[in-house]
């Protein structure tokens, strides 16, 4: 597969965000859905396992940055990469812990096992009153102090957008690396017939875990970029918001699960649909999203790009992975 088109799109958007900062927040909003869809795709799209606790990975990323900024003062600008690294590590660590146990389970049991993860961690943070507890962390003053006011605002406005787009781009790269190697074949086998795959020599737990941790890490990066850097705050009610997994799945299914360009198309359509609903019928976005996901899963399970690809000649299919 040739990832040039998707990568090109992300680079182009990054340039626009940098050059025309007035559009940065808009791009960030659209890109959030694109990147979320890409990250979700790497796990749910490639393995066809559903993780209902997925949002916890976004939260871990956000808390990584939040914790470093709040509890480790004096790091200056270095706090940002350190915080993001911590966030990604926490997300990956959570995926490893949950995955090591839950990925041995099959389909529905795995989904059940994950239902509790998001809520469980949120309840733990609130219940044990760590990391700001139910009140969350407000990062603006810490960011002004550590980075300087100008830089902090720049980061919140343009920097976070570029980071979000970077997440999407990294997700494309990850998909490319996965699909063009042994893992691509393994995951294709696992999602089509896991029992047969195992009999053929595929250690399914290993590959599922790999996809899971990659997906989680990217989500952690996204959460850090969008919430912590972009909004300068981390509230449990926001970062553990269960609707994000629905958003991610909407984008993924709309564009096409297991495709690379799918989430880009899906993200754009999804964002503007939500925006439109917001003006025509305010408050109904979540309802429409849920309805949309429901309809797509029943009627157009391959998504737009997925269905389109079936009708393309092989050469064109390569360019629209």
């Amino acid at each position: 597969m040739k990832p040039h088109i998707p990568i090109g799109i992300y680079l182009a958007l990054m340039t626009v965000a940098f050059v025309a900062p007035e559009y940065s927040k808009l791009i960030a909003s659209v890109a959030f859905f694109m990147a979320l869809g890409q990250a979700v795709n790497i796990f749910i799209g490639l393995t066809r396992y559903v993780d209902f606790g997925y949002v916890a990975f976004l939260a871990m990323g956000a808390y990584g940055v939040g914790v470093v900024l709040t509890y480790l003062p004096g790091l200056g600008l270095a706090a940002l990469p350190i915080g993001m690294a911590l966030g990604v590590a926490m997300a990956a660590g959570l995926a490893a812990a949950v995955g090591a146990i839950a990925l041995r389970l099959r389909g529905a049991y795995f989904a059940i096992a994950t239902i509790g993860v998001n809520e469980g961690i949120k309840h733990f943070i609130v219940g044990a009153n760590i990391w700001g507890g139910g009140a969350g962390l407000i990062l603006s003053s810490a960011m002004f102090r550590e980075f300087g006011r100008e830089t902090a605002l720049f980061l919140a406005n343009v920097g976070s957008t570029i980071l979000i787009l970077l997440t999407g781009l990294l997700a494309v790269v990850a998909m490319y690396l996965i699909q063009s190697g042994k893992a691509g074949y393994a995951l294709a086998a696992i999602r089509q017939d896991e029992d047969a795959a195992k009999v053929m020599g595929i250690n399914s737990t290993k590959y599922k875990l790999m996809a899971f941790m990659t997906s989680a890490s990217l989500s952690g990066l996204l959460g850090a970029s969008y919430f912590a850097v972009g909004n300068m705050q981390v509230f449990p009610e926001n970062v553990f918001f269960i609707e994000y997994i629905l958003d991610g799945m909407a984008v993924m299914f709309l564009g096409g699960a297991a495709t690379v360009t799918g989430p880009i198309v899906g993200g754009v359509i999804y964002y503007f649909t939500r925006d439109l609903i917001g003006t025509v019928w305010p408050g109904a976005q979540a309802l429409v999203t849920a309805l949309l996901v429901f309809i797509i899963v029943v009627l157009l399970p391959r998504g737009i790009v997925g269905t389109l690809r079936l009708y393309l000649p092989p050469k064109a299919r390569e360019l629209l992975p």
Binding site: D193, G201, P314
Partner: protein
């Protein structure tokens, strides 16, 4: 040289002893046909060799190693390939992609070599022209051939064939039989084939036959001898096979 040794394996499902103390040996490049009616324990035996089930008693020794506790994917890496009775292709992948899965994970080849091996296997079974078709679109006979190609690409020392003749026309059966014989003679690949009907094919194909009934082995030996054993005649055939 003994490739596979099955020692007194027992598998129980609740109160039922599906496999009740079966022992045999298989040499390298040898073809063994396991004959028996439905419920005699053939598929369970295959599953025990493959690792899908673990035996309640007894051992399975492959290439000198005790593999009784190994999961299926590790046994595959040691040199076992399985073709399913009901073909289980990956329907959304192309024919060659299907075979490559076998080559990469069963055979342990790297991606480039796996493609070569896959193409060769497809040529061997006669599916090369259809290699870019989606597997879900093949006919039943072609799916059987695909199963074989995939098993073959896995670089097996032992092929486990689960009633691969079922549902095929006599001509198609003949073709597969000859194919498998070639594999034994040209490549030294051993095979265990579960057979229910098609006695003629069994006789042509196998070096040795084991007859199972209610989980036990009731006769063993070269085809003419085992199939004409009085116990077998009584239980299964009704009259001597000619």
């Amino acid at each position: 040289m003994t490739l596979l040794k099955v020692e007194n394996v027992v598998k129980k499902f609740g109160g039922l002893r599906a496999v009740d103390g079966v022992s045999f040996e298989l040499a390298k490049g040898e073809f063994l046909a396991v004959v028996g009616p439905n419920g005699s324990g053939k598929t369970t035996l295959l599953n025990l060799i493959n690792g899908v089930y673990k035996p309640d008693e007894g051992r399975v020794i492959f290439d000198g190693r005790d593999i009784t506790d190994l999961p299926p994917y590790k046994r595959a890496k040691l040199g076992m390939s399985r073709a399913f009775q009901v073909p289980r292709p990956f329907p959304e992948s192309t024919v060659i992609e299907n075979v490559m899965v076998g080559a990469i994970f069963n055979g342990g080849y790297d991606l480039r070599k796996a493609r070569e091996v896959a193409e060769e296997a497809l040529r061997y079974v006669g599916l090369y022209e259809k290699r870019h078709e989606l597997a879900g679109r093949l006919t039943f006979n072609e799916l059987r051939l695909l199963e074989l190609a995939r098993a073959l690409a896995g670089n097996p020392k032992l092929l486990l064939l689960d009633e691969v003749m079922a549902g095929l026309t006599p001509k198609e059966i003949d073709a597969i039989v000859h194919l498998i014989k070639r594999l034994a003679e040209e490549r030294g690949i051993a095979a265990i084939s579960l057979v229910e009907h098609r006695m003629r094919a069994v006789a042509q194909l196998a070096h040795r036959v084991i007859v199972m009934h209610q989980g036990k082995v009731i006769a063993e030996g070269p085809p003419e001898k085992a199939l004409n054993d009085p116990k077998v005649v009584e239980v299964y055939l009704g009259r001597p096979w000619r």
